[in-house]
C-alpha cells in the first residue's frame, strides 16, 4: 500500500545519471522500462527509501507514467515505502531457518533494538524485519543488511550482539 506520510527532496547527481545510462544500455532500444528495477535499487541505496518524489523523478527519467513506478514499488518487498533505519536487518523467517532457531533470533533482535518490526530505532540507525527465504537455508539462521545485502550466516544470539555492537561502533567513529 502506498501511503504518503513523508517525502524528500530528490536530485540525481551526474554520477548517478551516468550509472542510469549504463544500465539503460543493457536493454534494447524502446525497452528502457527494463532498467526500472535496477535504477530503483540505485536510488534506494542513495536515499534510503522510495519516496514519491524519488519515484516521480525515476518515471520522468525513463519516460514512464508515475503509476508504472508506484505499482512496481508496491509489488516488490525490497523497496521501502517509508523511511527506515540506516541498517535494515532482514532476518529470514521461512521454514528451514525456523527449524534451526530463526524465531529466537528475531525475538532477540526485537528485544535488543527495542523496536517492533518495521520501526526505526531512536538514533535512526536500525530497523529490522522478517523476510521470506533468502536462499541460504543450509547456513541458517541468516540475516542480511542492505544496501550491500551482505549475508550473515549460522547466527547465534552472541553473533547478533556482536554485529549490532560493531555497526554502532562504526557509526560512532565517523
Amino acid at each position: 500500500m502506498l501511503k504518503v506520510t513523508e517525502n524528500q527532496e530528490v536530485n540525481f547527481s551526474e554520477e548517478m545519471l551516468a550509472q542510469f545510462g549504463e544500465i539503460v544500455s543493457h536493454y534494447p532500444e524502446g525497452r528502457e522500462k527494463s532498467a526500472l528495477l535496477p535504477i530503483m535499487h540505485l536510488v534506494q541505496k542513495e536515499y534510503g527509501w522510495m519516496s514519491v518524489n524519488a519515484m516521480d523523478k525515476i518515471a520522468e527519467y525513463l519516460n514512464l507514467q508515475s503509476i508504472e513506478v508506484y505499482e512496481v514499488a508496491t509489488f516488490y518487498t525490497m523497496f521501502h515505502l517509508s523511511p527506515k533505519g540506516k541498517y535494515v536487518l532482514d532476518i529470514c523467517r521461512t521454514g528451514p531457518c525456523c527449524l534451526v532457531g530463526a524465531e529466537k533470533i528475531m525475538e532477540h533482535i526485537e528485544k535488543t533494538l527495542g523496536v517492533k518490526e518495521g520501526e526505526v530505532t531512536e538514533d535512526g540507525l536500525f530497523s529490522w524485519r522478517g523476510v521470506e527465504c533468502i536462499a541460504a537455508c543450509g547456513f541458517g539462521p541468516v540475516l542480511q543488511i542492505g544496501p550491500e545485502y551482505t549475508f550473515y550466516e549460522n547466527l547465534t544470539v552472541e553473533k547478533v550482539d556482536q554485529l549490532i555492537a560493531e555497526l554502532r561502533k562504526k557509526e560512532q567513529e565517523k
Binding site: H26, Y27, P28, R31, K33, S34, A35, L36, L37, P38, M40, H41, L62, E68, E71, V72, F75, Y76, T77, M78, F79, D90, R93, T94, G95, P96, C98, L99, V100, V131, E132, C133, I134, A135, A136, C137, G138, F139, G140, Q144, G146, P147, E148, Y149, T150, F151
Partner: protein, 452 residues
C-alpha cells in the same frame, strides 16, 4: 566418491577467478562448440544428454530448446533464471558465489545453440553480492575474448547482462520473471503463447535455471552420451542438492542421480545423519512446494523399495505416498519439530508471495494461513482439518501459474501423512503450546501413515 561434473574443481583456491578456472580446463567447451560445432550440433548433444530442467519442473532441456521459434529477422533471447527463492533451495546462490565462470561458460554455449546475441541473467535482488561476482566474471570473460563481438574470431557475437529482481518469489515462475525483466510487476502470463514463441519483449525466449545452463558445460566437453551414462534411467547426470534443516552437515552436494535417499541422509560423504543424535521425523525432498513425507516413506517407497534420488523414484507412489525431486531443496525435520507449525510457516510464505491475480490463490492461500494459525495457537476445531484439505483442493489446478499448486501441496500432504498430529493439536490446545507431538509413529517402517 561419486563423480562430480559441475563441482569437480569447487575446492580449488581461486576458482572464482577467470585465470584459475581457465587453468582447470574452463572455457574448453566454448572453444569446442564455436570451432567445431554448429548450433544444431550443440542442441543434439543436449538432447542426447537427457538433461532435464534443474529449477524444479524437470522438463527435458533439449526439447524446450527445440520449441524455440526462429522467425527471420527477430532477435531471440536466452534468460537465465537465477531468482532462486524456493524455501530449502540454495544451490544456485552457492554455484554463482563459488564458481561463477561455470554459469558464464554455460550461458555462452547455450546462447550459441539458440542463436541469442543478448542474453540475460535475472538474479534475485537480495543476491547483490552474487550480482557483483557475476558482473566481474562477465568482464573477465570479455577481456579474454569469450564475450563481445566476434568471439574467438568465429563470427559469433554475444553480450550477457545481469538484471536484478527485487524480492518476489513469484518471479521464479518463468513468465513472471519475463514481466519483471521488462520492468513490471511479476504477474505470470497466461500460456499459450509460451515464451519459446513470445517471451521477453514478445520475442522467442528460452528461460533456464542456473544449474541447467551450467550442466551444458560437461555435456559439450564430454558429449551428451557420456553425460547420459551418469545417473539412473531418465534421470541422467548429476544434481546439486541443497540439504538443510536438522542435519549434521547441511550444505550443497553434487550427487549422481540414483543415489539412495538413505545414503544421502546418513552417510558421512553427504549429510552425516541427523544433528544432535536425534531421530528423523519427516523430509521435504524438493523445496517447500513438494509434498512432505514422513521418515518411513522417504527412505523406502510404499512398495518397500529403496527410494533413490531421481525424478522417478521420489515420485513413486504419486501424491498418496510419494513426492518430487523438484529443485533439490532437501529439508530434514527431526523429532522435535512440529508439523503443524511448519505447515503454518509454509502457508504464510505462499500467502505472502501470491501475486493476487487469480482468486483461488489470492483468497485460498490467506485462508489456509488463517485456519492453520488457529490450529497452531489452540483455537482450531476438528472440522478445520477437512476444511484445509478442501481449500487446498480448490486452489490446486485452478490458477494461471503453479504457485497455487505449490501452496496447496504442502498443506494437503501434511494432513495426509500427519493427521494424528493435527488432531492432537486441536484436542490438546493447551498442551500443544508447551510441547510438541514428537516423532509419533512416523519413523516406524511397519506403520502405514496414509490416513485417508
Amino acid at each position: 566418491m561419486s563423480r562430480k561434473l559441475l563441482y569437480e574443481h569447487i575446492n580449488v583456491p581461486g576458482i572464482e577467478t577467470f585465470e584459475v578456472y581457465r587453468q582447470k580446463g574452463g572455457y574448453r567447451a566454448v572453444e569446442k562448440a564455436l570451432s567445431s560445432m554448429s548450433p544444431e550440433d550443440v542442441l543434439e548433444e543436449v538432447k542426447a544428454s537427457g538433461l532435464r530442467g534443474r529449477g524444479g519442473a524437470g522438463f527435458p532441456t533439449g526439447m524446450k530448446w527445440s520449441f524455440l521459434a526462429k522467425p527471420e529477422g527477430v532477435p531471440r533471447h536466452l534468460v537465465c533464471n537465477a531468482d532462486e527463492s524456493e524455501p530449502g533451495t540454495f544451490k544456485d546462490r552457492h554455484l554463482m558465489t563459488f564458481i561463477p565462470h561455470l554459469l558464464i561458460e554455460g550461458m555462452i554455449i547455450s546462447s550459441f545453440a539458440l542463436g541469442a546475441k543478448d542474453s540475460y541473467i535475472y538474479v534475485r535482488g537480495e543476491m547483490m553480492p552474487q550480482i557483483r561476482i557475476l558482473e566481474k566474471a562477465i568482464a573477465e570473460a570479455k577481456e579474454a575474448g569469450f564475450l563481445g563481438e566476434n568471439i574467438l574470431g568465429k563470427g559469433y557475437d554475444l553480450e550477457i547482462h545481469v538484471s536484478p529482481g527485487a524480492g518476489a518469489y513469484i518471479c521464479g515462475e518463468e513468465t513472471a520473471l519475463l514481466e519483471s525483466l521488462e520492468g513490471k510487476r511479476g504477474n505470470p502470463r497466461i500460456k499459450p503463447p509460451f515464451p519459446a514463441v513470445s517471451g521477453l519483449y514478445n520475442r522467442p525466449t528460452v528461460v533456464n535455471n542456473v544449474e541447467t545452463i551450467s550442466a551444458t558445460v560437461p555435456i559439450i566437453n564430454d558429449g551428451g552420451e557420456e553425460y547420459a551414462k551418469v545417473g539412473e534411467g531418465r534421470s541422467t547426470g548429476t544434481k546439486l542438492i541443497s540439504a538443510c534443516g536438522n542435519l549434521k552437515k547441511p550444505g550443497v552436494y553434487e550427487i549422481e542421480m540414483g543415489l539412495s535417499v538413505e545414503e544421502f541422509i546418513y552417510s558421512d560423504e553427504y549429510c552425516g545423519g541427523i544433528a544432535r543424535g536425534k531421530q528423523l521425523k519427516a523430509v521435504v525432498a524438493g523445496g517447500s512446494s513438494v509434498p512432505i513425507l514422513p521418515a518411513n516413506l522417504i527412505t523406502t517407497t510404499a512398495n518397500g523399495e529403496k527410494r533413490l534420488m531421481t525424478y522417478e523414484s521420489l515420485a513413486e507412489g504419486g501424491f498418496e505416498t510419494g513426492t518430487m525431486l523438484g529443485s533439490g531443496g532437501f529439508i530434514a525435520f527431526d523429532e522435535d519439530q512440529c508439523i503443524v507449525r511448519n505447515t503454518l510457516n509454509f502457508a504464510r510464505f505462499y500467502a505472502h508471495e501470491s501475486c493476487g491475480q487469480c482468486s483461488p490463490c489470492r483468497e485460498g492461500t490467506f485462508w489456509l494461513d488463517k485456519v492453520l494459525y488457529d490450529i497452531e495457537y489452540g483455537k482450531g476445531s476438528q472440522s478445520d482439518i477437512d476444511l484445509l484439505v478442501n481449500i487446498a483442493h480448490n486452489i490446486e489446478g485452478n490458477t494461471i501459474c503453479p504457485l497455487g499448486d505449490a501452496a496447496a501441496w504442502p498443506v494437503a500432504s501434511a494432513v495426509r501423512h500427519f493427521r494424528e498430529e493435527f488432531e492432537w493439536h486441536i484436542s490438546h490446545p493447551e498442551e500443544a503450546q508447551t510441547r510438541n507431538f514428537g516423532v509419533g509413529p512416523y519413523a516406524d517402517p511397519l506403520v502405514s501413515t496414509v490416513t485417508e
